[in-house]
C-alpha cells in the first residue's frame, strides 16, 4: 500500500487540530485513522487530493468533535451529569425568568419570586455546569484559570445584576468584584490563549480588536454604573470596535475559511449579543434610576423646608418684642403651622412603619435619609394608607388640615388680597376635572404612587406650608412698623 508523504500527513494533522481534540490520545487515533483511509482510497488509483476529498466528507470538524464529545460522555460520569443538568436547568431557568417577567409586568403576585428563583438556578446551577463541560472539552494551558475566573466573575456579575434590579444592598460590591475578575483575569487570559491559537497575522489582529473592544465596552458599563466620568466616550469606542470593525472582519474571515455560516458561529453571535444587551440594560437601568430622583427631590424639599423653618423662628423672635395684637396673630400662625407639620410628620412615620414593618423609633431614623428605606418602591402602602377604603385615609385628613390652616392664615391677613390669592394657589386642594371626570385632590396627589414618591410629595407640601408661613409672618411684621 502506498504511504503518504510528510507534507500530506501534515495537512491532515493541521485539519484535525482545527477540531481541537484534546482528550487523551484521541487526536493521534483520528489522524492515523484518516491517513489509513486516505491510503486505502489511494490504493485504488486515486490521487491524494481526490482520496482526501472523499474521506473528508465523513471526517469533518463537527464529526471529529462529536467523537470527542461521545468519548467524554461515555467515560466521564460528571461530564454526563453536567450535560444533563445544563440542558434541564437551562430550559427551566429560562422558563422561570420568562414567566416571572410576564407576571411582574402584569402585577401578579409571585412574579419577583419566580425571577429570583430562575436567576439563582441560572447563576448557581446552569452556569457552573456549562463552564464545567466547556472546561472538559477544551484542555489547553491556562484554561483552568480561564474557566475559574469566568465562573467566579460571571456568578458575581449576575448576582450583582439581580441585586441591583431588586434594589438589595451590596449590589455595587458584587458588580465591582465580578468586573475585576472578568476584565483583568478572564479577558487577558482569553486573549493570550486565542492569540497563541491564531496562525496568521490577520487572525491575530482580528482577535486583538475583538478582545480590546470587549474590554473597553465592559469597562464603559462599569464606569457608567459607578458614575465615573468618561463612560460615554469609552462606550462609543468599545461598541464601534466591536460592532463595526471586529464583527464584519470576523464574519468575513470565518465565511472565507469555511465557505458557509456554521451553527457554532451563530451560537457565538447570539451569546455575544446577549452579553452586550445585559450590559447595556444594566447601564441604562442605573443611569435613569427613578428611585434616586425621587429621593433627591425628597431631600431637596426637606432641606428647603428646614431652612425656612429656621428663618421663621428668627422672625417669631423678632415679633416677641412687638405689640400684643401682633403677637397673638403670630402665635396663631405658629400654632397652625405646627399642627399641619406635625400631622405630615406622623403620616411619614406611619407610612414607613407599615412598609418596612419597623417601630416608630426606627422609622424616624430611616426618614433622616430616605435611601435607607427598604421598600421604597412599595405601591400598595400609599393606596391603602393615604387613600383608604372609602377615601377616608390619611390624605383626606391632610386635606382637611391644609384647608383649616388656609382659613387660619387668611383670617390674619384679610387686608392683603395679593398674598391671599398666592396662598390659595400654593395650598390649593380643590378637585380637578380631567376629561369631564372629576378627580379629588387626594386621588391626583397620592393614587398609585410609590412610597418614595409619596414621601417626596409630603415633603413638598411641608415646604410650601413653610413658605406660606414665612410670607405671612413677614407681612404681619412689616404691617405694624
Amino acid at each position: 500500500m502506498q504511504s503518504l508523504n510528510n507534507k500530506q500527513i501534515e495537512l491532515i494533522i493541521s485539519d484535525v487540530e482545527e477540531a481541537r481534540i484534546t482528550f487523551s490520545h484521541l487526536a493521534d487515533d483520528l489522524i492515523d485513522h484518516i491517513c489509513c483511509e486516505v491510503e486505502n482510497e489511494m490504493s485504488f488509483g486515486k490521487t491524494f487530493d481526490e482520496a482526501y476529498d472523499i474521506v473528508k466528507q465523513q471526517t469533518g470538524i463537527k464529526v471529529l468533535q462529536k467523537i470527542q464529545e461521545s468519548a467524554l460522555y461515555l467515560i466521564d460520569k460528571n461530564y454526563r451529569r453536567m450535560k444533563m443538568t445544563m440542558k434541564i436547568t437551562g430550559n427551566l431557568s429560562l422558563a422561570m425568568l420568562g414567566i416571572g417577567t410576564a407576571m411582574e409586568l402584569s402585577h401578579l403576585a409571585g412574579g419577583s419570586l419566580l425571577i429570583i428563583f430562575g436567576f439563582v438556578i441560572l447563576c448557581l446551577v446552569f452556569f457552573p455546569a456549562a463552564i464545567y463541560t466547556n472546561y472538559k472539552e477544551m484542555k489547553v494551558k491556562g484554561s483552568k484559570i480561564l474557566h475559574l475566573s469566568i465562573l467566579i466573575g460571571g456568578i458575581l456579575f449576575m448576582a450583582g445584576v439581580l441585586f441591583k434590579v431588586m434594589h438589595w444592598p451590596g449590589a455595587s460590591n458584587l458588580l465591582f468584584t465580578g468586573w475585576l475578575f472578568i476584565l483583568f483575569i478572564f479577558l487577558p487570559i482569553l486573549m493570550y490563549i486565542k492569540l497563541k491559537e491564531a496562525t496568521t497575522a490577520k487572525e491575530k489582529s482580528i482577535i486583538l480588536i475583538g478582545i480590546a473592544g470587549l474590554l473597553i465596552f465592559e469597562l464603559s458599563t462599569m464606569f457608567k454604573v459607578f458614575h465615573w466620568p468618561g463612560a460615554a466616550v469609552l462606550m462609543i469606542v468599545g461598541s464601534v470596535l466591536l460592532v463595526s470593525i471586529f464583527l464584519p472582519l470576523f464574519t468575513y474571515s470565518k465565511f472565507k475559511e469555511t465557505g458557509k455560516i456554521t451553527g457554532q458561529f451563530i451560537y457565538i453571535l447570539i451569546s455575544a449579543m446577549f452579553f452586550m444587551l445585559l450590559s447595556i440594560l444594566l447601564a441604562i437601568n442605573v443611569s435613569t434610576n427613578v428611585l434616586d430622583v425621587y429621593a433627591q427631590n425628597e431631600s431637596n424639599a426637606r432641606s428647603i423646608g428646614n431652612y425656612l423653618n429656621v428663618k421663621n423662628q428668627k422672625l417669631y423672635a423678632d415679633i416677641n418684642g412687638k405689640a400684643d395684637s401682633i403677637k397673638t396673630k403670630a402665635s396663631a400662625i405658629n400654632i397652625g403651622t405646627l399642627k399641619v407639620c406635625s400631622l405630615i410628620d406622623s403620616i411619614r412615620i406611619e407610612l414607613v412603619m407599615a412598609s418596612d414593618l419597623v417601630d416608630k423609633q426606627i422609622a424616624e431614623k430611616l426618614l433622616l435619609d430616605v435611601n435607607h428605606i427598604s421598600n421604597k418602591a412599595d405601591l400598595k402602602i400609599t393606596n391603602s394608607l393615604m387613600i383608604g377604603e372609602n377615601w377616608n385615609g390619611m390624605a383626606y385628613r391632610l386635606k382637611q388640615a391644609i384647608i383649616k390652616y388656609q382659613q387660619t392664615i387668611q383670617s390674619e391677613i384679610t387686608s392683603n388680597a395679593e398674598l391671599t390669592k398666592n396662598i390659595n394657589i400654593v395650598l390649593n386642594t380643590s378637585d380637578i376635572s380631567i376629561n369631564q371626570e372629576t378627580q379629588t385632590w387626594e386621588q391626583i396627589t397620592f393614587n398609585e404612587n410609590i412610597l418614595i414618591g409619596t414621601l417626596s410629595v409630603l415633603s413638598d407640601i411641608e415646604k410650601r406650608i413653610r413658605m406660606v408661613e414665612s410670607q405671612t409672618i413677614q407681612f404681619i411684621n412689616a404691617q405694624t412698623k
Partner: protein, 117 residues
C-alpha cells in the same frame, strides 16, 4: 448491511473478541477486520469505535502503546490481564444472547426446544 440499532450493544464484545485473538490492533485495523469478517455486513464507523476504545482504556480493560509509523503516531490497543477475563465474560454473554435470540426466532421452536433439551 445490518441496522445500526441492532449493532449498538454488540460492538463492545466484538471489539474485545478481536483483541483477544490478536496480540494488538490499531483503530483502523479493527474497522477493517470487522468489515472483512462480516463480509461487509457490519460497518464499524470510527465515530462509534474510538469512544468505546477510550472507555475500555479508562476502565482498565485495554492498554495502549504508541509507535511512530509512516511519520505519524499509531496507537495500538491490547487487552490487559484483567481485560482478558472481561473479554471472555462479555463474549460469553453475547453468545448466550444470540442463542436465546435464535430460539426466539425459530418458527417451530416448541418442538426443537424440547428435543434440544
Amino acid at each position: 448491511m445490518v441496522q445500526n440499532s441492532l449493532i449498538k450493544g454488540t460492538l463492545n464484545p466484538i471489539i474485545l473478541r478481536l483483541l483477544s485473538e490478536r496480540k494488538r490492533l490499531y483503530g483502523y485495523e479493527i474497522t477493517q477486520l470487522v468489515k472483512e469478517i462480516s463480509d461487509g455486513k457490519i460497518e464499524l464507523t470510527f465515530g462509534a469505535l474510538y469512544p468505546i476504545l477510550h472507555k475500555l482504556e479508562v476502565d482498565g480493560v485495554v492498554k495502549t502503546e504508541s509507535e511512530v509509523i509512516n511519520n505519524r503516531n499509531r496507537i495500538y490497543y491490547s487487552l490487559t490481564e484483567t481485560g482478558k477475563n472481561t473479554a471472555k465474560e462479555r463474549v460469553a454473554e453475547l453468545e448466550d444472547f444470540v442463542n436465546t435470540l435464535r430460539v426466539l426466532l425459530k418458527p417451530n421452536f416448541g418442538l426443537e426446544y424440547a428435543i434440544a433439551k
